[in-house]
Subunit: 141 residues, 2 copies
C-alpha cells in the first residue's frame, strides 16, 4: 500500500479548489461547509465535539462558528451545562445546506462518472475505517 498517503494528498488541492469554486456562489468556504455538514449529519453539537472530530483546535471552531452565526446559518441553543455552547443549523442554514448539497452531489457524480459502482462503494466505506485507525494511532502516542 506504499504511496497511499501520497495519492491522497495529491488529490487534496484539486478537490478543495473545485469545491471552493462551487461554494463561492453561496459566500461560504469549505471550512464553513464542513461545520454545516457536521451539524446536518450529527445534529446539534458543541464546539469541542466539532473540533475533536476534525482534529483542529478549539479556537479554529470558535472562528468558524462566529462566521456562520453572522451569516445566520447557525444558532445557539441552551443546554444544562452552562459552559457549553450548543450549535445547530437555523432554518436558513438548512435551506442553504440543501441548495449546496445538490451542487456538491452533482460534482461528486461527475468525479465518479467512469468508476464502477462497486469500486465507488468500497472507496466510500474505507474512509471511516481509516479515520478510526488514524484516531487510534493518535491515542497510542
Amino acid at each position: 500500500m506504499e504511496g497511499y498517503l501520497q495519492r491522497f494528498l495529491t488529490l487534496y488541492r484539486p478537490m478543495i479548489t473545485r469545491l471552493n469554486e462551487l461554494l463561492a456562489s453561496y459566500d461560504i468556504t469549505y471550512s464553513l461547509w464542513m461545520v454545516m455538514y457536521h451539524l446536518k449529519h450529527r445534529g446539534a453539537s458543541t464546539l469541542v465535539e466539532i473540533a475533536s472530530h476534525y482534529e483542529v483546535e478549539k479556537p479554529t471552531i470558535t472562528r468558524r462558528v462566529q462566521k456562520l452565526m453572522e451569516l445566520g446559518i447557525v444558532e445557539q441553543i441552551s443546554g444544562k451545562d452552562k459552559r457549553e455552547k450548543i450549535i445547530q443549523l437555523t432554518d436558513s442554514g438548512f435551506s442553504i445546506y440543501n441548495k449546496v448539497r445538490k451542487d456538491i452531489t452533482a460534482l461528486e457524480f461527475r468525479l465518479m462518472d467512469n468508476i464502477p459502482e462497486q469500486e465507488r462503494n468500497i472507496a466510500y466505506e474505507i474512509f471511516p475505517k481509516i479515520y478510526n485507525n488514524l484516531k487510534q494511532e493518535r491515542e497510542l502516542q
Copy 2:
C-alpha cells in the same frame, strides 16, 4: 456517492497531523515531502511540472524548492531551455527519502491494518481516476 468529498476532507487533518509528526524528526514538512516524492517517482522535473501536478501556483513551488536546496535535498541540473530550472534529488536527498519512506510505509500499513487486501487495492487505484476527473472538470471551465 453523496458525501464522498466530505469523507475525504474529514480525513485530511488527522492524516496531515500524523504525517507531520513523523516528518518532524527529519526536519521536513509534508509540503516538502510532496516535492521529494514527485522527484523520486517522476524523475528530474521543472518547477512548472510540479506546480501543475499538484495544482498550486508557481511561487509556492519556488519556495519549497528553495528550502529543499538549502537542506541539500535537491539540486539543479542544466537543460537546453535556459528559462527552465530542472530539479532532481541529491544523493543525500535520496538517502533521506529512503529513510522517511520506511516510516511512512509503516504508518500506511498501520492505517490499513484491518482492511481487506482487495479493498485496499481498489481504494488505492481509485485516486488516479478521480484525479483525472478533477483535471478534466477544470478544463471544462
